[in-house]
């Protein structure tokens, strides 16, 4: 029994890691006012890049760095389309998804069926990992997990308690007022989109070099869309995203375990999406201010005189 609990808990944390990474990025992006629906595609690009570079160099850390670079670059397309061209962020994001999925599928084809010999190894934190039950659950994970937690805290801290955070949040709340303070809102948003992409790339790298050792097409399996839901569910707060990511991730882990109890796994799988809608619904009934939604999210902003 104990083993099952430990196993489920561990797998939950692993499943939630890419979700958390992607959500941190999307939170930063959306807080600056840009909606990025392309997470699924960017994550896929990150996954394939990490895989190939790790395969070729034998070092998963190089793979991680390459994934971040590739994901950031491809995100520039969305930034350019939504910020400079003022195109619909919905359409541009969807284009990014398709492009990302397509390119990664194409580029990754030669590598299907060739597993990595070296993948990202787990780091067991000394002493802490030996604590019964809690130890193996929390302290024996891939570096991605630790990075995700640390980055979530860092992102939250930056957004709430630093000057940069105020700038980002203001760009998403009221770009006109922000610009009136002499801040280049376009530049702030560009960076946030790119950073958001970098995080999705990290999430993808986790999938292909830590979670599994191989590359298959469609590896992201809809996780990018869950990230978009999770961003809202977490009310644009990276710390809440931690809880949400493991909640959502956990659902997929126990989905089939609860089947003997008569609970349909499909019903469980619906829960993340239903709860996101629920959160929005509640927010609409109460004061929408408490929702934290950036006031000008997905509204194109055009700098202008008169």
């Amino acid at each position: 029994m104990e083993d099952i609990i430990i196993s489920v808990a561990q797998r939950t944390l692993v499943a939630g890691t890419p979700l958390l990474l992607g959500t941190i990025g999307e939170v930063i992006c959306e807080r600056s006012g840009i909606l990025n629906l392309g997470v699924e595609g960017v994550m896929s690009v990150g996954a394939v890049t990490a895989f190939i570079i790790t395969f070729v160099t034998g070092n998963p850390w190089f793979g991680l760095v390459a994934a971040i670079v590739a994901a950031s670059l491809i995100s520039v397309i969305h930034a350019f389309a939504s910020i400079t061209l003022q195109a619909s962020q919905v359409v541009s994001g969807l284009a990014l998804t398709m492009l990302g999925l397509g390119i990664s599928g194409l580029v990754g084809k030669p590598y299907i069926g060739k597993p990595l010999t070296i993948k990202m190894q787990n780091w067991a934190i000394p002493v802490l990992a030996d604590i019964p039950i809690v130890g193996p659950i929390l302290f024996d994970h891939s570096p991605f997990f630790y990075m995700a937690i640390v980055l979530a805290a860092l992102a939250w801290f930056t957004l709430e308690y630093t000057r940069l955070g105020i700038t980002i949040r203001s760009a998403g709340e009221n770009p006109r007022a922000t610009e009136a303070q002499g801040i280049n809102v376009y530049r702030v948003r560009y960076w946030c989109v790119i950073i958001g992409g970098a995080f999705s790339g990290m999430a993808g790298a986790h999938l292909s070099t830590s979670y599994s050792k191989s590359w298959i097409e469609g590896m992201t399996a809809g996780r990018g869309w869950i990230v978009i839901a999770l961003t809202i569910f977490a009310l644009w707060n990276p710390m809440r995203a931690v809880i949400g990511a493991f909640l959502f991730g956990g659902i997929f882990v126990i989905q089939y375990l609860l089947q003997p109890l008569g609970i349909s796994p499909n019903f469980l799988a619906m829960l993340p999406y239903i709860s996101t809608l629920f959160v929005l619904f509640i927010g609409a009934l109460r004061d929408s201010r408490k929702m934290n939604a950036p006031a000008m999210l997905a509204e194109p902003y055009r700098r202008g005189e008169r």
Partner: protein, 501 residues
């Protein structure tokens, strides 16, 4: 900063000359008032000083030296701060966060905590009493304004520009503000106050410069002038009555507005219990500076805004709070204030905009389908009857000039023979020709038995066209006068809230 001067400043926007050869000066420990109606060029001038606009010619002198100001950061560096009429604040953020956004010296980490002390220090200096951690949306207008002032001062502003600061304040808050301004003056700051309110200019300013239609028309020490002379300078004419319109007997009553109370977007009362009637063969004008409730009144009459209490009835039918379409069907047509924003669908072509409000009527549609042949004919008629210059009825409406768009809208609304035509600032931003044409059309409407409600800031227009004139100030009518009433020479005082009839 010891002194600042703007020398021979001129600025045009396309063909409108917003500032012509303006010279102003201010020195340390002085409060200068900039007086003028809307559109006189005051805000444009200050935006140039603040670095948001660049002048076409002229220069700025600080402490005797020529200075170039190319952006708000430049002006801030030179010690100029501005509090805009519409606050540039982020409602969901706290006071500290808002100030931190604009403050050059904001620390990278924990900015809210670190500048809190600064904020409290400024608060104490001027007796402000602001809690830095409160979210801005919870603050009253006066408190929000103080946040804007602190934002300007904390960046080291010596010169503070305030654009119509009292338009959103209660009288108590206004008194507090003036107290603060006196404090600042005593501490050596320079203050420029933009206002159209005579009482306030006389109360707080040391000197006043009066602008009209982009030019300076008067300057004085406030100790040497009184309200009447200021009002005359502001409006620029002795009111000579040139009635070009033929005298008309007004006939039956068309619309009754009974004690209506209307709230604005901020949930405050914008219209505080106004009553009036309009009759056929009459143009009823509402004069007054924008922002005194005219917009909300017009929106309520045309169905775009709810009426909190009171009644509106047309031809006997109660239309209070009915839908826009229902009100239109009852015979109220509307030429909107912002013609491109509300009056047309810019990307659709002319003939499609020709029936924007009328497309549901049987003569333009039968059951589900639009009768395009009739619509196109109607559009052609509109173009010729109302002299709309356009290559054809098939062009996209946004390609037309402002004047032609307005003629189209006016024609569209008039052609359905409405009982009441509501025209809101109809000639704003139009060239002389279009303006003249539109005014003639309104007079024609009056002659043909229609009733017209004209809301305008252009006093020339009001006097030229209206049979009766109401002056609106802060949600109330300061008086309703016949156009030949001699008391109208004091209309400036009424517009500025200093006189009631």
């Amino acid at each position: 900063m010891k002194s600042l001067g703007m020398v021979n400043i001129s600025k045009s926007f396309q063909d409108v000359k917003a500032n012509s050869d303006i010279n102003i000066s201010i020195k340390q420990g002085e409060i200068l008032g900039l007086l003028g109606e809307n559109g006189a060029g005051k805000t444009t001038l200050m935006n140039i000083l603040y670095g948001l606009y660049q002048p076409d010619s002229g220069k700025i002198r600080i402490n005797g030296k020529d200075t170039s100001i190319n952006s708000p950061s430049d002006s801030r560096r030179h010690g100029i701060g501005m509090v805009h009429q519409h606050f540039m604040l982020i409602p969901n953020h706290s006071v500290a966060e808002n100030i931190a956004l604009g403050y050059e010296m904001t620390p990278l980490l924990f900015p809210q905590r670190k500048i809190k002390d600064n904020i409290i220090a400024y608060s104490k200096k001027f007796n402000f009493d602001i809690d830095p951690s409160r979210p801005v949306w919870q603050l009253s207008a006066g408190e929000q304004q103080r946040v804007e002032i602190i934002k300007a001062l904390i960046n080291g502003a010596d010169l503070l520009i305030l654009d119509e600061p009292t338009s959103v304040l209660t009288s108590q808050e206004t008194r507090d503000l003036f107290q603060n301004l006196r404090e600042m003056k005593n501490q050596g700051h320079l203050v420029i106050l933009i206002s159209h309110k005579l009482d306030e200019i006389l109360e707080i300013c040391d000197r006043v410069t009066v602008l009209q239609k982009g030019r300076i028309v008067g300057e004085a020490q406030t100790a040497d002038v009184d309200k009447k002379s200021l009002a005359r300078m502001m409006i620029g004419r002795d009111i000579i009555f040139q009635i070009e319109k033929e005298p008309m007997e007004r006939s039956e009553r068309v619309i009754t507005i009974d004690n209506v109370v209307i709230k604005n977007d901020k949930d405050l009362e914008a219209v505080k219990g106004i009553s009036f009637d309009i009759y056929r063969n009459e143009i009823f004008g509402i004069a007054g500076v924008s922002g005194n409730g005219q917009r909300e009144l017009v929106e309520a009459i045309t169905g775009l805004r709810a009426v909190e209490s009171g009644k509106i009835a047309i031809d006997g039918d109660d239309i209070t709070n009915e839908s826009v379409r229902c009100i239109y069907n009852c015979g109220i047509a509307h030429v909107p204030e912002e013609r491109i924003k509300f009056g047309i669908a810019p990307g659709l072509c002319l003939y499609e905009n020709a029936i924007l409000k009328q497309h549901h009527k049987p003569k333009y549609s039968n059951r589900f389908f639009l009768a395009y042949s009739k619509i196109k004919q109607h559009a052609k008629n509109l173009l010729s009857d109302f002299k709309v210059m356009a290559p054809s009825i098939n062009v996209q409406t946004k390609n037309l000039s402002g004047g032609n768009i307005q003629k189209l809208i006016l024609g569209r609304e008039i052609s359905e023979d409405p009982s009441l035509l509501v025209a809101s600032h109809p000639t704003y931003g139009l060239d002389v020709g279009a303006t003249e044409y539109l005014r003639k059309q309104l007079l024609k409407r009056r002659r043909e038995g229609g009733a017209v409600l004209l809301v305008s800031e252009d006093l020339e227009e009001i006097f030229e066209l209206c049979d009766r004139i109401a002056v609106m100030f802060q949600g109330e009518f300061m008086g309703i006068l016949n156009s030949d009433d001699p008391r109208l020479k004091d209309i400036g005082l009424m517009m500025a809230g200093s006189m009631r009839v």
